[in-house]
Symmetry: C2
Subunit: 235 residues, 2 copies
DNA sequence: GTTACGCTGTGGTCAGACCACAGGAGGAGA
DNA sequence: TCTCCTCCTGTGGTCTGACCACAGCGTAAC
């Protein structure tokens, strides 16, 4: 009886996922049915489902019909974001480590994208153009910035890296926003960031992995240093 | 009232963490007290606590006294492992992406460790010696292997990367173990891995970042290819 | 002084009761 | 026959109350 009741439920569902009895789009049995099948109370079932929901594995909906109930989805970024955000809040993850990890992942994305046989930077170019709009507030600009980096990661095609980057970004979001307010001349910074973005994407399009890696590294490190989020010299 | 009751609880605790009212080692109020304070039912409080527990932010204990109740801890690896394992099970994370991400992180760890001013590879050497023991089963050997890689990551000092590597490792653990049984001559493979490990640590000790990066990359990629876990050519 | 008992508060669990909601079935009307 | 409306059903969301096992602490008995 080492297992607590909710763990029984979690393991049962995990096994179903692992062995293919459950997959994306499938509906889980109702909470009452699961409880009866597994011999636990409904509240224990709910605790397990809550965990799965926060981890981005299911979504729940009230009502009846095919789209109600608990349905298996796969949105890893949500769970990763929640996890990283909470750990940063609890100071299990120092901010500097988060930033450094982001650097590692971004470097790898840029390099792998630049040296890939096929690459599609159409999304990136679209976002680049959107960032040229006048009168963008810092928050809007930074949101587009996040989209750009995420779009590049998605082009690289690694789902794990995409969610990790999304999660890392979410975890430091409030700090980044706060940092942007410390910048004296935001318009000048925005222009600088725009130019750096263009240079990065150009290096990727040209297939120059080393340049892409260096440029994105300096781009991110430069911004964090400018906002004082990290002491100089991480990595 | 978009918030569901358990989200209210989660946000309340997250805010307490963020603003320093809660920190590692502190005790949360009892479930009944939290429920009364926030005006929700105890079951909703429990759902929120369950999430925090799985994410590695709290541990709970029955009984009375100072060590009972819900206590803030910080064990990010546990939560990361659970998240990655579940996502892999649900096929949100292709195995190849997990492996490739591990490569990216290990490369960065090796390079940063080799170029660090101070580095302590004593733990790594201890594990290396332990791996020389005769008659190790594949499972035991691989457990030590995991410890070695984790020890290196810890020496590099980035908590985020440590948990991510631990999580990635956990997520593919069963596959790695299954893969080891497909190897014809396990003893020969173990010898090869031992030699590669020694070479990696030697490069790190020598401060040769490029060599360390290359060697660890080939080491991991080679093993995964040998066990057929990934098609050749990732990264 | 030492030991043993019981009280208290904790999480863990279950059962039952509502509620709001969404969809489908079936009847009433055109 | 077709359309619209109503009611019923099953879903998750929540709360309440009730137990249980457990660990600590005070207190009474020795």
């Amino acid at each position: 009886m080492a297992d607590r009741a909710w763990q029984t439920v979690l393991e049962h569902i995990e096994r179903d996922l692992l062995e293919g009895r459950l997959g994306a789009g499938d509906r889980l049995p109702s909470e009452r049915e699961l409880a009866a099948d597994l011999g636990v109370g409904r509240s224990s079932v709910r605790e397990a489902l809550r965990v799965l929901e926060v981890m981005g594995l299911i979504r729940t909906a009230t009502g009846s019909g095919p789209s109600s109930g608990a349905i298996v989805i796969v949105t890893p970024s949500g769970g990763m974001s929640a996890l990283l955000r909470l750990q940063v809040a609890a100071q299990g993850f120092p901010l500097a480590d988060v930033v450094q990890t982001r650097l590692v992942l971004e470097d790898a994305v840029a390099a792998s994208l630049a040296s890939a046989d096929m690459r599609d930077t159409a999304d990136a170019h679209r976002i680049l153009d959107a960032m040229d709009a006048d009168g963008l507030a810092a928050g809007e600009f930074l949101a587009l910035d996040a989209q750009l980096h995420l779009a590049l990661a998605e082009s690289a095609g690694n789902a794990v890296i995409v969610s990790m980057m999304a999660g890392l970004r979410t975890a430091v979001e409030s700090y980044v926003l706060a940092g942007s307010e410390l910048i004296d001349d935001w318009d000048a910074m925005a222009d600088r960031l725009r130019a750096e973005h263009r240079a990065i994407v150009a290096a990727i399009d040209a297939g120059d992995a080393d340049a892409a890696r260096t440029r994105i590294h300096d781009h991110i490190a430069g911004y964090y240093t400018a906002t004082g989020l990290t002491p100089a010299g991480t990595d």
